[in-house]
């Protein structure tokens, strides 16, 4: 039998598909801007140790609070450290911590959400109420408690942030799963006698993956803000590690006469957040999940 369908996309390998999605994302100005910003930050984070003109912890009384100049592009801070060096290195910490944090959030939040959505019933009820209870705790207070008990190393921060930002993903993953499990192909797999794990892996994940990834991308930008807030409060990474939140916190008292030391980290942080947001939106549109019409629960 002949098919009259236009064979637009034959089976493509995964790499080609990813490239296709990137191309769709870049086809709109907002997506292109977002991708460029994120790419710029990522590249900068990777190469920053090699291009940093000064040592980030070199304190010098001779260069305290210098205005931007040819030697110090973004000026120097109250301890005489080069703001440019610290700004480009600050992105490195923030990106690493939040990237792995989001990954953890995605994994546990996504899987738990899918599981709850699939099994339903009492297990689902109990888990969701626990998640709700955790959602009601102001995360920053809980984070402060964890950090003061366990210290501020990245080994503590990454899983802690991952945990707190994964709660929301549980709900999104569960809602997305609910949309799918009512469909007949799940019923069919069930009737054939597939195990729950096999149903999750083969039938559900391919259909909820996109929604969860988009949500994860959004959470990433929030987590970035959260991480910087912690540092700002003095509970994030400890000095002298270069970090945007820490830099803003240190320099804000001097803002009236040494604005440069606070502006550079702010620009870095907000541009990255905007970039991630724009990228996530473009990502959602490229995958056909429109956030503007379908709000996650």
């Amino acid at each position: 039998m002949e098919s009259n369908l236009i064979t637009e996309d034959k089976q493509k390998n995964k790499l080609e598909k990813a490239f296709e999605i990137l191309k769709t994302m870049a086809s709109k100005p907002s997506g292109l801007i977002g991708l460029t910003i994120v790419l710029f930050h990522v590249v900068l984070a990777i190469i920053s140790p090699y291009i940093a003109p000064y040592d980030y912890k070199a304190i010098s009384p001779n260069t305290m609070l210098l205005a931007p100049s040819a030697e110090h592009w973004f000026g120097t801070d109250s301890l005489g450290r080069d703001v440019f060096t610290r700004t480009i290195l600050g992105g490195r910490t923030a990106l690493t911590v939040t990237f792995f944090g989001s990954l953890i959030a995605l994994l546990w939040g996504g899987l738990l959400g899918i599981f709850c959505g699939l099994v339903g019933g009492k297990i689902d009820d109990v888990v969701m109420r626990v998640v709700d209870a955790f959602l009601s705790i102001p995360w920053i207070l809980a984070m402060l408690l964890i950090v003061s008990l366990l210290g501020t190393s990245t080994e503590v921060l990454i899983p802690a942030l991952g945990f707190f930002y994964g709660k929301g993903i549980v709900r999104v993953a569960r809602a997305a799963t609910h949309d799918v499990i009512a469909k007949d192909f799940i019923v069919s797999a069930r009737a054939r006698g597939h195990s729950n794990m096999s149903i999750i892996w083969n039938e559900i994940i391919p259909n909820v993956r996109d929604a969860i990834l988009v949500e994860g991308a959004m959470r990433w930008s929030w987590m970035l803000l959260g991480f910087s807030s912690l540092s700002f409060l003095g509970f994030g990474v400890s000095p002298p590690t270069p970090d945007w939140g820490l830099m803003i916190s240190n320099a804000r008292g001097l803002m009236s006469f040494a604005y440069w030391s606070v502006i550079a980290p702010i620009v870095g942080l907000s541009s990255l957040i905007i970039g991630i947001n724009l990228t996530a939106d473009a990502f959602a549109k490229a995958l056909g999940i429109d956030r503007s019409t379908k709000a996650p629960v």
Binding site: M1, S3, R192, N202
Partner: protein, 675 residues
């Protein structure tokens, strides 16, 4: 000749594709609607029939735009009007009745208010006149107790009643032209017949012209004076209803009529090969060329014009129509199917099965007490023989799908047993069944869009059961998949396709292949053809029958479509409100329906023949719950004899022709009553 009220001239409507190409979905359509005439527009999905109908009230869906031509309503072009001007025409001059009235009515406003709104907008009546008019309208559409009806909310009405309200609203502005877009498609058979009867009455009574859009030739046949047949965005045949239905002179219409299963015919309908071309893929030549058995080289190169044949008062778009003129006497033929061996063993037995959706209360659970005395499905006992096709029929709410689900183990039975092979009891819990039993019973679903994972290729879809039941891998897996595709007449190249790249019929074939991958003994078919177009439906039915004859599979076939059931089944079980009414060999149930419900149901079936009118013997009331005592059909039975029907469950009687029925009236007496 009577006055023409709307005329469409050379209308083409299209859209711009992503690659910037202009693709037309309506091509050069011209037709006239005369005053007082009912025109049926018929075609399969994607033929452009709804686009045409909407354009006739000056509405074009977002993304589409008119390429050329005009829609003249009383010599004014609707497509050039401003929205202000259109507002004055819509509702007042042209009114529309939507497919799903339940969704078209505002859920939080009372029926009376919504009709009043239409009256306020489209008439100059004052409050008291309007009130009078509302009850007049409700009376006209034959709604029960119109006085109280006005104070009800849409959700308090049944689907048929909601559709009647929509008709009343459309009539409020006294339109000259009524547009009906598949108005009865979502309704039950009996309700559908009643609504059509009402529409026919209204057309006659008010002299309103109607445009009736449907894919269902049966419904079109009941209401239309003239029929327009559409294919791939073109009119291929247009003429008086009787001529079109009895002597179609276009090969597509001919094939379409042959592919409709009919009550009067045992055996399977003939199918048409292929499927309708997608918009944009039509280049040159006749759009029906690929599927036509009259096609010549001329048809490949040149596209035929719509030709007017004076003697028949018909327009036809075909070079070779003359070959069909004398061929039409064999419309009433079908493919005979091999009947199965009636001596075969029973493979599945349902014994006193009851299924309840009600949750057991906590206390009752503790005491292990059965709380629901009135379950959704009750006392179903059916023995199914190996290799037979047994059909469960009934309207919505008859519990037919529920029974299917519990055979598959997806729903727990409350009472009774399901026995499989040699009287082994199957657990009603899926997890307790052994893998071989799970393999032996497979399901095919109604809608292939939902039953195939959109993110899997056909290869992945078919490999699921093969991996699960037979642990196949690598080359062997691939070979099996190719074999399966061959079985359902799909080529090897389908393996890498995703469901969205397939047509409806192809998707359902993949679903059939998946069910057969498990080498099952029993296949449960849940309305497997109702989401498909007629010509595709015939092909799927033929495929199922072929596979059964080759492999000896047993089918439990659930459908609301009595004609489809007639075509495929060996035995029929008629259900009402989750209770069995009648069960017997198909040819006997259809020829000599004994139970009053079977009689009602069969009487309401619409045939694509203007001479066969439905017989409306019972009211189309919708009952939400089965009655607690007595016969399940007591509420609507046209032959109710009295109190005994309300208080006692009728006994089984077996007639001389093998039908078993549950009725208090003697089976022979019933037969004589029906004559």
């Amino acid at each position: 000749m009577s006055e023409i009220i709307e005329s469409v001239k050379n209308l083409s409507i299209g859209f711009n594709s992503q690659k910037g190409k202009q693709i037309s979905i309506l091509r050069n359509v011209s037709t006239n609607i005369k005053k007082g005439e009912t025109v049926g527009i018929v075609g399969e999905s994607g033929s452009g029939k709804s686009t045409l109908a909407l354009a006739m009230m000056g509405y074009i869906k977002q993304g589409l735009f008119p390429l050329k031509g005009e829609c003249l309503f009383k010599s004014e072009d609707l497509l050039k009007m401003s929205s202000r001007q259109l507002e004055k025409i819509r509702g007042r001059k042209i009114a529309m009745i939507p497919q799903n009235a339940g969704q078209a009515l505002t859920p939080n406003l009372k029926i009376g208010y919504q009709i009043d709104e239409a009256l306020r907008l489209h008439t100059d009546l004052n409050k008291s006149e309007r009130d009078k008019k509302i009850s007049e309208l409700l009376n006209k559409v034959r709604l029960p107790s119109p006085e109280t009806m006005a104070f009800r909310y849409p959700h308090e009405l049944s689907g048929g009643q909601q559709q009647r309200v929509a008709v009343a609203m459309a009539l409020a502005g006294k339109p000259d032209l009524l547009l009906l877009d598949e108005p009865t498609t979502g309704l039950d058979v009996t309700t559908q017949a009643h609504v059509l009867e009402l529409l026919r009455f209204i057309a006659k009574d008010t002299g309103t012209s109607m445009i009736y859009v449907s894919h269902d030739l049966g419904a079109i046949a009941q209401v239309s004076d003239r029929i327009v047949v559409m294919y791939a965005g073109e009119i291929v045949l247009e003429g008086p209803a009787r001529k079109i239905l009895k002597e179609p002179i276009h090969p597509y219409t001919y094939g379409l009529l042959k592919s409709i299963p009919k009550l009067s015919l045992a055996g399977l309908p003939a199918s048409m090969p292929g499927s309708q071309p997608q918009p944009g893929s039509i280049n040159e030549g006749c759009s029906f060329y690929d599927r036509c058995n009259l096609a010549t080289d001329n048809c490949k190169k040149n596209s035929p014009d719509l030709e007017h044949i004076k003697e028949l008062d018909t327009n036809v778009r075909c070079f070779n129509y003359k070959e069909l003129i004398n061929q039409n006497n064999n419309l009433q033929t079908s493919i005979t199917k091999k009947s199965n061996n009636s001596e075969a063993n029973e493979v599945l037995k349902l014994k006193d099965v009851s299924i309840s959706y009600a949750k057991q209360k906590f206390f009752d659970q503790l005491l292990n007490k059965i709380s629901d005395q009135n379950p959704t499905v009750k006392d179903i006992s059916i023995d199914i023989k190996k290799g037979e096709t047994i059909a469960l029929v009934g309207e919505s709410g008859s519990g037919k799908s529920t029974i299917l689900k519990s055979i598959a183990g997806l729903l727990e039975t409350k009472d009774g047993q399901i026995k499989f092979e040699n009287d082994r009891i199957l657990s009603s819990d899926l997890k307790m069944r052994n893998p071989n039993d799970l393999r032996a019973i497979q399901l095919i679903f109604q809608n292939p869009d939902e039953s195939l994972n959109p993110n899997h290729t056909v290869e992945q879809i078919l490999s699921q059961p093969l991996k699960l039941y037979f642990n196949l891998l690598g080359k062997e897996l691939k070979k099996n998949i190719i074999d399966l595709l061959k079985k359902v007449r799909l080529g090897e190249f389908y393996m890498s396709r995703y469901p969205r790249q397939l047509s409806g019929g192809e998707k359902q074939r993949v679903a059939v292949a998946r069910a057969f991958a498990a080498k099952p003994d029993i296949i449960l078919c849940d309305e497997v053809t109702s989401a498909l177009d007629v010509s595709v439906q015939a092909a799927v039915l033929n495929l199922l029958q072929q596979l059964k004859e080759d492999l000896g599979t047993t089918y439990v076939f659930v459908s609301h479509d009595l004609a489809v059931v007639r075509a495929i089944s060996d035995r029929v079980a008629v259900l009402y409100q989750g209770r069995l009414c009648e069960i017997g060999p198909s040819q006997n149930v259809y020829k000599f329906p004994s139970h009053p419900y079977t009689e009602v149901l069969l009487g309401a079936v619409l045939e694509p023949d203007p001479d066969i009118k439905p017989k409306l013997v019972a009211e189309d009331i919708v009952e939400e719950k089965p009655p607690e005592k007595g016969c399940s059909f007591q509420g609507r039975c046209p032959r109710k004899i009295g109190d005994i029907c309300n208080s006692e469950v009728p006994p089984w009687q077996i007639g001389e022709n093998g039908n078993a029925i549950r009725c208090h009236i003697n089976i022979e007496e019933l037969a004589s009553l029906q004559q």
